[in-house]
Structure formats: C-alpha cells, structure tokens
Symmetry: C3
Subunit: 199 residues, 3 copies
C-alpha cells in the first residue's frame, strides 16, 4: 500500500506543477494588463514597480534601459497625463509560454495606441511586444519589455497616406545599451521576431 501512496504523491506533485502554470498565466495576464492601465494615465511609479529589479525596457528603437530605476527614469520622460491628454495603450492578444519551475516566461502581446493632445496632434499607433517575465520574490515581474512599433499615423491622414517617423531618442536620457534590433516602422515592413516556433 505504501507504493500506492507513493504513486499518488507523485501524481499529485505533477498535477500541482500543472496548476502552477495555469496560475502563472492569470498572473502574467494581470501584470501586462496592469502595465497598460498605468501607462494610459501616466502612473509611472506604479508602472515601474511592475518591472523586475534588473528589468529592461526597449521601445521604438530608442535603445535599452537596464534596471528598474532606469525604466522609471525613462517612463518619467514620457508625457504627463492631464487635461486634454489621451495616451491609451490597450493591451491585447497574448501568446504566453511559461516555465513555471524556472520562474520565467515569454509573451507576445500587442498594443493599440490612441495618442493625442487637445488642439495638437492626434495619432493612431500599433505595436507588437515581445516580452519576458521573471518570478521575483514570489511575484511575476517584467524582465524585459520590448515594443516594436508597427505603425503610427496621423488621425487626420490615416495609415493609407503614410506613417509617422519613429522618434529615435528620449531628450536628455541616453540608453544603457543600443537597440537589440534595427528596423523602420510603416511604411517599411516590420515583423517583430517571434519567441516561438510553434504554438
């Protein structure tokens, strides 16, 4: 009978590992969604806290910012939220691959962006994220956020009359490392590298 108990115990341990992945899926979805809500409204400190201590951020070919405090500094160079501001970064369409035992994960997401300032510019944009995540002190955090811009266009023009050139740097804040990939957004074709061969 002790064999049977040992077998049960092993089966239970295996099942527990599978349950963990499902839990991690929920938490990773919450995490990325939370990031979007904070970015929308310029809640930069809260957004920065979602990154791992050594987490990195790389957006739009502006180079890589390394470590949570550098991510925070980057975010605080983005436009503040306030009267007449729309800075929506909707987060959708996850493809997540999780290694629960290792405490690491990779995720492809996309953001649909609506950006604008009253009486000034109004733009649509859309980007693919290829992110990685790490479990740190028991919580999932963003290990690397990499946003590859597919396009920005002027609301008044639409994407069929041309894209807006990427802004390649943040005033007064040089990156810690150069961009990991070189590309131009629309009208140039760009396909964000996939972290997976198969789903």
């Amino acid at each position: 009978m002790s064999d049977e108990i040992a077998a049960l115990r092993a089966e239970l341990a295996e099942l527990k590992a599978r349950v963990q992945v499902n839990e991690d899926y929920r938490e990773l979805c919450n995490l990325q969604a939370a990031y979007g809500y904070y970015v929308d409204k310029g809640v930069w400190d809260k957004a920065a806290e979602l990154f791992a201590e050594q987490g990195t951020l790389e957006i739009a070919g502006r180079g890589v910012y390394v470590g949570r405090e550098r991510v925070r500094a980057y975010l605080k160079h983005l436009p503040p939220y306030g009267h007449g501001t729309i800075y929506n970064h909707m987060q959708l369409q996850p493809v997540l691959h999780i290694d629960s035992e290792a405490g690491t994960a990779k995720g492809r997401w996309r953001t649909l962006m609506m950006v604008g300032w009253l009486g000034k510019e109004g733009r649509w944009g859309e980007a693919t994220y290829e992110n990685s995540y790490v479990r740190e002190d028991g919580r999932w955090r963003i290990a690397s956020l990499h946003g590859i811009i597919n396009f920005y266009c002027e609301y008044d023009e639409g994407w069929h009359r041309g894209g807006v050139k990427l802004l390649r740097s943040i005033d007064g804040l040089a990156p810690d490392r150069p961009s990991s990939i070189d590309y131009e957004a629309y009208p140039e074709p760009v396909i964000a590298p996939f972290h997976y061969e198969e789903v």
Copy 2:
C-alpha cells in the same frame, strides 16, 4: 499510514481550491466577453441575464441602477440594433482578482467603442470598467458593472479636437442611487479608481 493519507487529502483539497480559481478566471472572462457581444447587437435580455439578481449598473455618471430588472430596463432604453447601426463595445484587458471561496471577484476591463448610425453620428469611445462579480446558483454573474468613460469623440474630428460631453441621464428612467463617483470625461483627466494596490 493514515497520517500520510490525511496529508495527501489535505494537499489535494488545497490544490482543488487553486484549480477552482483558475476555472473561475475562465468563466469570468467568458462572462464579460459575452456581455460585450450582447451589447453590440442590442440583445438586452441576454445581457441582463448576466447580472446577479441584486446586480447593479452604473455608466457614464448616469447614476446606479439596482437589481437585474432595473438593469434590464436601463439596457432597453439604449438604442435598438438594426439597419445602419454600429454599437460595438469591445471588451479587453482584464485585471482579475478572485476570491473563489467567498464566491466574489473584482475585475478591471476596458471597452473600446465604435458607435454610429448611418447618415448621422459616428463616434469613437473608450471606457474603463471596474466591476465586481458574484457566484450565484453556481454561476458567476455581474454584481456591479461600473463603466467610467475616458472619452467619446466624433469620428470626423478625432480626439485631438475635443471630446463629446457625457449624456448624464437616460430619458424617462431615473436611477435608483446617485453616481458613486463624480467626473468629467476627456478633455478632463479621469482615472477610474483601481480595485487593487498591487498585481
């Protein structure tokens, strides 16, 4: 050996509780998504059935409607679906926190809205939901749906030329309670309260 069996039983019970949360996550995502599909097409009775018996609805600062039948009445005051109508309420970006044992949950979502009538108005809109849910007769239902409008704008103008004022009431249907929060949508800044401090 009975100690070992007791230990296994306890471990299994604990795991079962964790599995339940994962199941609830799926059901809550299905529930909110289903709400969106019904609203798109004016399937008001089906939408109302997704609310708990004591469920509430509060949208755009028009006050709180209390109980499924009042929610149904509210929904039936919205425009009917038909020829020349677009009333899309896309549901995305959940941040869900679930207490499976208590049978309660809270969820932040967003809706991207495309609204219009042929030959009349066409509008973009976007709102944050801060909803709560309850398990009732074994099924998850909406305990409170609270939509905080971030903006509406005319399709022909875009968000950079101004927002559309919120319609503060439904003709002929006074709410049961005043609005729980006071705000103006874009161009005023608005941040829907968060149900969570951390994710």
Copy 3:
C-alpha cells in the same frame, strides 16, 4: 484503508480533468492569438499550420475551404505583406467552451481590422469569429474558422457614411462548399450565430 486510497485516486482523476480544461484554455488562447499575428504579416504557411488536417475556413461569405491545404491556398490568395502594407487582424474577446475529454472546443472571438496600402485604400473593419477547435496529435488546432464580417468602412468616411460591400469571392479560387450562412455586412444588421445559449 484501500477504500480511502481509491477515493483519493478518484478525486485526483477528477481534478486532473479540471486542470486539463484550464490548460486547454491557455493553449486555445495562444492558438487564436498566434493566428492573428501570422495573418497581420502574411505569414501564410505558419497560419495554415494552425489548422487541423481537415480544418475549414470561411470568411465574409466567400464559401467554405475544406482541409489544411485548401486553407493554405486561400490564405496565399490574400494580399502579400510588404512595403506600405497594413493588414492588422487584432484578436480579442474570447468566449470559449471546451470539452477536454472529447478534445473539442468552440470559441467566439472578434477581430478588429486595420487594412490599407500606402497611397491607396485605408479601411477599418470588424468581424465576429465563431470557431471550433480540435486536439490533433496532442495539440489544439483550428477545426473551423468562420469569420462573419460586421462591417468594413473607408477610413476617410467612417462607419456613419456607409460600409464597404463584401467581396464575395477570391479570384481564381472557388470554394469547396457554399457559405454556411447568408448575410450582408453593415449597413445591414448581422448577428453571428452564437455557439452558446448561456455562459
């Protein structure tokens, strides 16, 4: 004591079945999201590989294409991705019902489409999918993808000035079966059939 072990074993088997459904949910979400990313960028072979061997595709009333190779042929008749192309098919809002034991599932999704070519047309579109899935060789694949177009409109006009007529056929590639439902997109009303009565 062997009764207690038998009871534990039964309980564990039951729980395992529930965990399987949660796993399947993740895999199905990954699958449909992956489809969208491939379609965006004209990665047709990868998109075709997501279909079951006998998988079918039916979009916009152009009839049903039966079997993975016919799906591949259909996809390869769509516009290639390249300079000046936007062909975004964002995938969101799943309502999923899964029969893990049978290895089958049904899902309602929606796609928000941004389509255009530099210096030519630019369009918004939105469709509902009512898809089915099957587990094949241990992996979930698309058994049937059925996209019902709610609307297309010209970016320059908006949906309040009229929709774009559906293109009812693919040049040089007749379907294997006629359309399963007959409808017109906006401004006509269209409600994609629901695979569920209740959520």
